[in-house]
């Protein structure tokens, strides 16, 4: 159950007032606190009233009582060991009040993220939710790094600032990212592009593993990431939250401010983030030109026209300038060989905040208009309109003062229109059906002096879907189907002479379907099974990309004759606990692909002025991915918990019988968490509440991919060298957090140290590994204030 829903229910419990004296200070507020998951009472929870600066503690049955209250508005903070603290607004008028409050208890947290297991979310798919606290505790991390805290989700990245999420081995065109319900439209061609989303704007990030998410436009083949801001609290007072964070490595600083108010019939919420980071450091040297600057804004407006019609408007702008490691700008494989043999980059020096070429400048703007009309208690309709503008400029180190001119300049416009209809039938069936239209216009901007890697194109996509769910006794059944038609109009520029424009018109059809069953054997054990089939049309880059990809010393060529990729995926999940002491979750999956599209690095060699380059061609093969995500936790006492996770994956190109490139490696984590059972006296009357310490070790195994071969010529004699995947490594980290109740606000302090032992390592999924090793020790301090 979401937090906003809880608050709404809380408000429902507030009894409507009746007429009385103007100032009555003999009122009593009583309440009962229970666990949101199990419904069991929570004893010894702290209750603090900001206005009176008084508090109390719930008794052994979860009840509490506050007396001698006057009429007025009160803000009550609830906190308890192992729970997320929560603020509740109560308006006390001329009557005593009894509240029924619920807290989210972390017994069910298997990761450091709150999980909503399949049995609770009433879906047969694996849906994992990252909550607001986790996002705020990890302020400064990008979306990919935050989602990678989920078992089975990893990040493919270029250094520390550019990262894309990988869900169960799939990324890029195979997964969809929805920002506030709208398919994120960006130039997600390469690995070296990050999704343009500020996680701090979101209050909730959900990851759906598998072929779920049939109701979302995009690619249901690999999984869905939903980034959602919370609904505006129905609270007449101005409230907000501010986050500040500092990171020692790169001297990164950031601040985030959120404000919200719902005065009468229109609510608003504003969110702003500013972040700046300098050059990062490895244990041995500085990574010259790896800083970041980011300014993001978001505005949310909500209006209730009537009980039936609700409308909201959302606007967000994401603006970033990312430096790309100087040492990674190479000419050809010979350069790469020199760097590999040298072991340390040619360009080192001292750290600075300068952002020089090579760099990326990305602006992403989203405007969304959403309306929900409730026809009656059992049916509703929603309509969405959204427009997006994505502007990407990439700067290389160029001759003749051209470093200030983008070598790539792309503008992408997207218009999305979607409608959904939901009906709950008395027979227990839930029906959801919808239609979506998406228009994309991608335009290269003139003046780069470079032929574009991605051509200009327009695309029209129309999608239809229906999902049906039915609860029957202890089971939930799910069925869904989706159809998409995509029409692309592409204007490519040839590379052979004479250079000319060549046009292509394509039409693709995608069909996806999924069936699932969830069975709650008892409150402590449930299993879920899902079987899905999905097709994905080749993306523009897979069809038509053409040209030099300098960062990888390769020439990349698309194939206009590629066909749809088809995949069948089955998942089996088991979730349960033994007496709430030992809890476990297992998610196994098997996915088989026909015509899997991949970039084959074993093509020919092309010699150009810069030297010899490998030709990478987009090709199709048959592939399969099998994996298991496992997490377990054991709660020794209310204070002490140990956790272990494993993420195992095997992804094969069946035709060639080798491991697919960019497959995540097997990863294991183990952690111990201790939470102080009592508040610790701090300064004056201030106390450190919920003080929590976690020590975590992560073991990342070696990739089973083949060594990569690189070709160069020495005096016209062809030579080659190999780069092996990185060795396995261990990373130790420490996390700590505490809450302090100030006068009217609550301060949360987090302190984390990653790579405590300053280990020198490289990660297989980091493109920067060819040139440098990964970031060394990093200490983070975070402060968040709710007011």
């Amino acid at each position: 159950m979401s937090l906003s829903k809880l608050k709404f229910i809380t408000l429902l419990f507030i009894v409507v007032p009746f007429i009385g004296f103007s100032q009555n200070c003999t009122l009593t507020l009583t309440g009962h606190i229970s666990d949101v998951g199990t419904g069991e009472p929570i004893p010894y929870a702290n209750i603090f009233v900001s206005e009176t600066k008084k508090g109390t503690v719930s008794d052994s049955s979860g009840h509490f009582k506050l007396t001698n209250l006057c009429t007025g508005d009160y803000h009550i903070t609830l906190s308890h060991i192992g729970c997320e603290s929560k603020k509740v607004f109560v308006k006390i008028e001329e009557k005593d009040i009894d509240l029924n409050l619920k807290l989210t208890h972390s017994v069910h947290d298997l990761d450091n993220v709150a999980l909503s297991s399949s049995s609770k979310s009433k879906t047969t798919q694996k849906v994992e939710i990252i909550n607001e606290r986790f996002i705020s505790d990890n302020a400064g991390k990008n979306l990919a790094d935050i989602t990678s805290s989920i078992v089975g989700v990893s990040t493919i990245k270029t250094g520390n600032s550019i990262g894309k999420p990988i869900i169960n081995g799939l990324f890029g065109n195979r997964i969809s990212i929805l920002n506030n319900g709208i398919p994120q439209s960006g130039q997600q061609w390469g690995i070296d592009h990050s999704p343009e989303i500020d996680p701090l704007v979101a209050n909730k990030i959900s990851v759906i593993k598998g072929t779920a998410g049939l109701e979302y436009l995009g690619a249901p083949l690999g999984g869905v990431i939903l980034v959602e801001p919370e609904k505006i609290e129905k609270e007449p007072h101005l409230h907000g939250k501010t986050n500040y964070f500092f990171e020692s490595n790169g001297l990164s600083n950031g601040i985030n401010l959120q404000l919200q108010q719902y005065p009468s019939n229109i609510g608003w919420k504003a969110n702003a983030t500013f972040r700046r980071s300098g050059d990062l450091s490895t244990p041995d040297y500085t990574l010259i030109n790896t800083g970041v600057q980011e300014i993001n804004l978001a505005l949310q407006l909500e209006k209730e026209f009537s009980k039936k019609l609700k409308t909201d408007f959302y606007f967000s702008t994401f603006n970033t300038t990312l430096a790309i490691l100087r040492a990674s700008q190479i000419g050809n494989a010979l350069n790469l060989k020199e760097i590999t043999e040298r072991g340390i980059p040619f360009i080192t020096g001292s750290s600075s905040f300068n952002i020089d070429a090579p760099k990326q400048k990305v602006n992403h703007h989203l405007a969304k208009f959403h309306s929900k009309y409730s026809i009656d208690f059992s049916q509703w309709v929603t309509i969405d309109f959204a427009g997006q503008l994505n502007q990407r400029k990439e700067f290389d180190r160029r001759r003749g003062g051209r470093s200030n001119r983008p070598a790539l300049s792309l503008d992408q416009y997207t218009i999305y229109i979607g409608g959904k209809y939901f009906k709950r039938f008395s027979s227990g069936f839930n029906l959801k059906s919808g239609i979506q239209y998406n228009f994309i216009d991608n335009e290269n901007q003139a003046g780069t002096g470079v032929l574009p890697l991605i051509p200009d194109y327009t695309s029209h996509q129309i999608g239809l879907f229906t999902t049906l769910t039915k609860s029957y006794k202890k089971s939930v059944f799910e069925f869904g189907a989706r159809y998409d038609n995509i029409n692309q109009h592409v204007a490519t520029i040839t590379r052979d002479l004479p250079i000319r424009v060549e046009r292509f018109d394509n039409s693709f059809h995608n069909i996806s379907t999924s069936v699932g069953w969830n069975f709650a054997i008892n409150p402590h054990l449930s299993i879920s099974y899902n079987l899905g089939y999905a097709t994905r049309n080749p993306a523009i880059n897979e069809l038509y990309s053409s040209g030099l990809h300098q960062g990888v010393a390769a020439l990349e060529f698309g194939d206009p004759n590629l066909k749809n990729e088809k995949a069948i995926k089955t998942t089996l999940g088991i979730t349960g606990d033994i007496k709430e002491k030992f809890s476990f979750e297992a998610h196994g999956y098997f996915q088989k692909f026909d015509d899997y599209i991949f970039l084959n690095p074993r093509g020919q060699i092309q010699r150009i002025a810069r030297g010899a380059f490998l030709v990478f061609n987009y090709e199709q093969t048959n592939a399969q991915i099998a994996g298991l995500d496992l997490s377990t936790a054991y709660q020794f006492t209310a204070s002490l918990q140990i956790k272990a996770t494993a993420s195992l994956i095997d992804a094969k190109n069946i035709t060639d019988n080798n491991t697919l490139i960019y497959t995540p490696t097997n990863t294991f984590t183990g952690s111990v968490t201790y939470e102080y059972p009592k508040a610790i006296p701090f300064i004056g009357s201030k106390k450190l509440e919920n003080l929590k310490l976690t020590v975590k070790n992560e073991y990342v195994s070696e990739s089973t991919t083949e060594d990569e071969e690189y070709i160069y010529f020495e005096n016209n004699i062809k030579k080659s060298f190999f780069i092996a995947p990185p060795k396995a490594y261990n990373l130790l980290s420490l996390q700590s957090s505490t809450d302090i109740q100030l006068n009217k606000t609550r301060l949360r302090i987090t302190g984390n140290i990653t790579n405590i032992l300053n280990t020198t390592y490289t990660n297989y999924l980091d493109r920067q590994r060819y040139f440098v090793v990964a970031q060394g020790i990093n200490a983070t301090l975070g402060m968040s204030l709710k007011f």
Binding site: R402, D441, E443, I608
Partner: protein, 185 residues
């Protein structure tokens, strides 16, 4: 109604995008490509020779056409390197660009011809070698090749770089051209 006007605004926006996208894309003039390399050697008592390297489609699929040649044994040649970008019958002189940013560039010459040596005869603003102008001294008759590498932003101060040793230079490769050469008596 407000709702309606927003709907229309979006639709209008959509139509305007659709209508403007059928224009032909701009074919960029590829400004940094090197299409022609002319390596001219002159010496007293020997015929002047020009080795050429031509890749008309730049980074396109066509392979470069390389013409090497013959040098006279035991002779000192004055060598000059010219780099051009010829596209759509227009010629950009890359050599001039390199001279303007001479501190950021250096040419390196490697060979497998025994007895053949290359010496820099030009300098950048800081007094470090640039390598557009060189002298090439041949030894006895031999067969082999000379490779010319152009590095953008090398570390000119690194050990051996001023002497023409590329090992510690770093920087990005902008030219890698190899000429087959026959040194004859």
């Amino acid at each position: 109604m407000k709702t309606k006007s927003i709907v229309f605004a979006f639709l209008a926006l959509g139509i305007s995008f659709t209508s403007c996208s059928d224009d032909d894309p701009v074919i960029e003039n590829q400004e940094e490509v090197i299409t022609n390399v002319n390596f001219t050697l002159t010496a007293t008592g020997a015929d002047p020779v020009t080795f050429t390297w031509v890749d008309a489609d730049g980074e396109g699929p066509g392979a470069p056409v390389v013409v090497g040649g013959t040098l006279k044994a035991n002779t000192t040649y004055t060598a000059n390197l010219e780099l051009l970008n010829v596209q759509n019958e227009e010629t950009d002189n890359v050599t001039t660009e390199i001279k303007e940013e001479d501190e950021d560039h250096q040419l390196f010459y490697t060979t497998n011809i025994s007895g053949l040596s290359v010496a820099y005869t030009d300098e950048d603003e800081d007094g470090n070698p640039l390598g557009l102008a060189t002298t090439i001294t041949t030894g006895d008759a031999a067969k082999g090749s000379i490779t010319i590498l152009l590095r953008h932003e090398p570390n000119k101060g690194a050990e051996g770089v001023a002497e023409g040793n590329i090992a510690n230079a770093g920087g990005a490769n902008e030219l890698d051209a190899t000429f087959d050469i026959d040194v004859v008596e």
